[in-house]
Amino acid sequence: MSGLIGKKIGMTSVYDASGKNIPCTVIEAGPCVVTQVKTKETDGYESIQIAFGEKKEKHTTNALKGHFKKAGTTPKKIVYEFTRFEADHQKQFGDIIGVDIFVEGEYIDVVGTTKGKGFQGVVKRHGFKGVGDATHGQHDRLRAPGSVGASSWPSRVFKGLRMAGRTGGNRRKMINLQIVKIVMEKNLLVVKGSVPGPKGSYLIIERWS
């Protein structure tokens, strides 16, 4: 697996050769800095650690300051580890990885945190149908969950029963998004479809091969 850390910029649409409108997400991907190379001898497994996104020095702990200084870079917001980074993209400590590791037309996965929706009822949170009728004796139970269990047995509500609560803000992965366009000079990826999270949120872009 190889990949990058990116930032969601926004959505737009482009037209393909046949004139079809393709909804697209623009992602600022990289340039990321290799801040650590883990090897079997020293760490027990192989991976590379990359960092992305400027951060102020005064908001950085001394431990991280030293870590970034060693890699010869400024403090970064996001640090992420990729295991089994592809051999042909094998990177050295302090290297800079950009969007050039991808090619147009290939498929990637994008990981992000979905938008937080706050405390939501069961209709929005779990797709319950609600009562579905405003008449026939109903008046204030349009979006109610209904019964949560029987009475004498089991005399309790089963664990894990789907109820209202905090919704959104989960880590989600969108798989098989096609890269429509790569804008090298601005480090931008234009991918087909949507990705999780609000504009400006950080994303992990993965490619399995």
Binding site: I9, G10, T12, S13, V14, Y15, G19, N21, V26, E28, K181, V183, K186, L188, V190, K199, G200
Partner: protein, 117 residues
């Protein structure tokens, strides 16, 4: 670069044809390419612009015409490669940017005063 600037940069890469400027209330003719099998022909759609909506490469505009006795509205994406040409026939005098009130008007009431250029 900030997010809006980056979005603008990406949208500037999308090819766009140059069209004459028009706004709500204008009467325009849109030449629209239609593919039938292997053949391609051009269809004209003439009517009043109800609104222009959105910005950048996702901007669209709505054209309304009366066909027979029925109102017909079509929404065109302005960056669509199928739009061959847009011709402005008349500039209209309207006070708002979205003239949906036109939908409720018929016949003589649905006229729009022409702006003399």
């Amino acid at each position: 670069m900030s997010k809006p600037e980056l979005m603008q940069y990406v949208e500037s890469l999308v090819e766009r044809k140059e069209f004459p400027s028009f706004k709500a209330g204008d009467t325009i003719t849109v030449s629209y390419k239609i593919k039938e099998g292997n053949k391609e022909r051009i269809q004209q759609f003439q009517g009043v612009v109800l609104q222009r909506s959105g910005s950048g490469s996702t901007e669209t505009f709505t054209v309304r015409k009366i066909s027979g006795n029925t109102g017909v509205e079509r929404i065109f994406p302005i960056a669509s490669p199928f739009i061959d040409a847009i011709e402005v026939n008349k500039h209209g005098v309207v006070r708002r940017a979205r003239i949906f009130y036109l939908r409720g008007l018929r016949g003589k009431k649905a006229r729009i005063k022409e702006k003399r250029m």
